[in-house]
Symmetry: C2
Subunit: 204 residues, 2 copies
DNA sequence: ACCTGAACACCGTTCAAGT
DNA sequence: ACCTGAACACCGTTCAAGT
């Protein structure tokens, strides 16, 4: 909260990052709708005009958070991917657990990454790359004969959607009666993805 | 925008509904983050204090919109459900198309219904009922032998998640490379759900 | 019962001025 | 180059007062 500032100096090293940290904290506490740029500035120990040296506007701060969040998601998936053992089912389960783990451990990052924002295709963020890791794993499964019919891209799209659905519905409390199955979100995701991919063997 | 008000009178019939209409319009234009209660009041032709006779605060307006949105989703799914022909696959496809159609035709309603809000289980809204229609259809499929292993609730949870994922990722532009498969969101949803349910026959 | 008008604290953003 | 201070229009919310 309070910030030690050497007398006479403006601010410690990196105000941009300090603002991002404070902003993420705020989104965590009040959600993306309750987030206030002025309060972020206050928590970073600067005036409310200071952020505008580093960000075009309030939305740009959220865009930067989304950018970082996709970077982290990509890292997390890559780590899970690199631990591949050749067992396709195990690798997919690891990817699924990594994805769901990220969402549940960093709900603020997840909300900001996948919620409505100005980030779009062609904006140089790691969203497509994260998708690519999923697609690559599925591609390997197809080549190894672990999967039936389908293109890797389409199957990755379905899986990506399924994962997002599970995480967001869990975070926003919109799973309805499915909340009472005794399954954790992680278990539900693993089971569902397994089901989806098993379907490729019998898509008559 | 401008409102005809008989001289001397406060407002036409139903200010509450007028505020909801204006608010939905606003969410449509600027998203749930850009939505301002003062502007909604202005568009309804009343002072900025007037809404507080009908809603506790700004969030309560969004809650009411979410409530209505789930009511509509339920209606739409019920209509699709009632047109059941006995063909399980066709009935599921109809439900899927109805769901996706609702999301794409009423993105503001969809965002407000499934986005973060104070609506929770036990709040008397039609979210769980909508889920129930999906679960009931799957239950019929199980009994008729159209589906393999699984409980209706778990399968409905997976399907509900998949549908939500497809719609939200489409609306927020987060499908990544899967945007370029030539499939519409509706086709993607139908194919994915078919895949998921086909998986019940081979969940070895 | 339902709405207005004025008020208050706060927010997003701009800009001249300071170091 | 980076930040402050003051300013402006706007927002959410409250409350006394009007009909």
């Amino acid at each position: 909260m309070s910030v030690e500032r050497a007398r006479g100096q403006y601010h410690h090293g990196d105000l941009r990052q300090a603002l991002l940290n404070a902003s993420l904290e705020l989104v965590q506490e009040k959600g993306t709708r309750g987030f206030s740029l002025n309060e972020a500035a206050r928590r970073a120990g600067v005036s409310s005009a200071a952020p505008y040296r580093h960000f075009a506007d309030k939305e740009a701060v959220l865009d930067a958070l989304a950018h970082d969040a996709f970077g982290r998601l990509h890292e997390v998936l890559e780590e899970a991917s690199s631990a591949a053992t050749g067992d396709f089912d195990a690798e997919m389960a690891a990817l699924v657990r990594a994805y769901v783990g990220f969402a549940l451990e960093s709900p603020a990052r997840y909300e900001v990454a996948f919620g409505p924002s100005r980030l779009r295709k062609g904006d140089d963020f790691q969203g497509p790359a994260a998708f690519g890791l999923l697609e690559a794993a599925i591609e390997r499964g197809l080549r190894a004969g672990d999967l039936g019919d389908g293109t890797a891209r389409q199957l990755a799209g379905s899986t990506w959607s399924l994962l997002h659905g599970v995480c967001e519905l869990t975070l926003n409390g919109r799973l309805g009666p499915a909340t009472e199955t005794g399954e954790t979100a992680e278990e539900m995701a693993v089971r569902s993805v397994r089901l989806l991919l098993a379907g490729t063997h019998k898509s008559a």
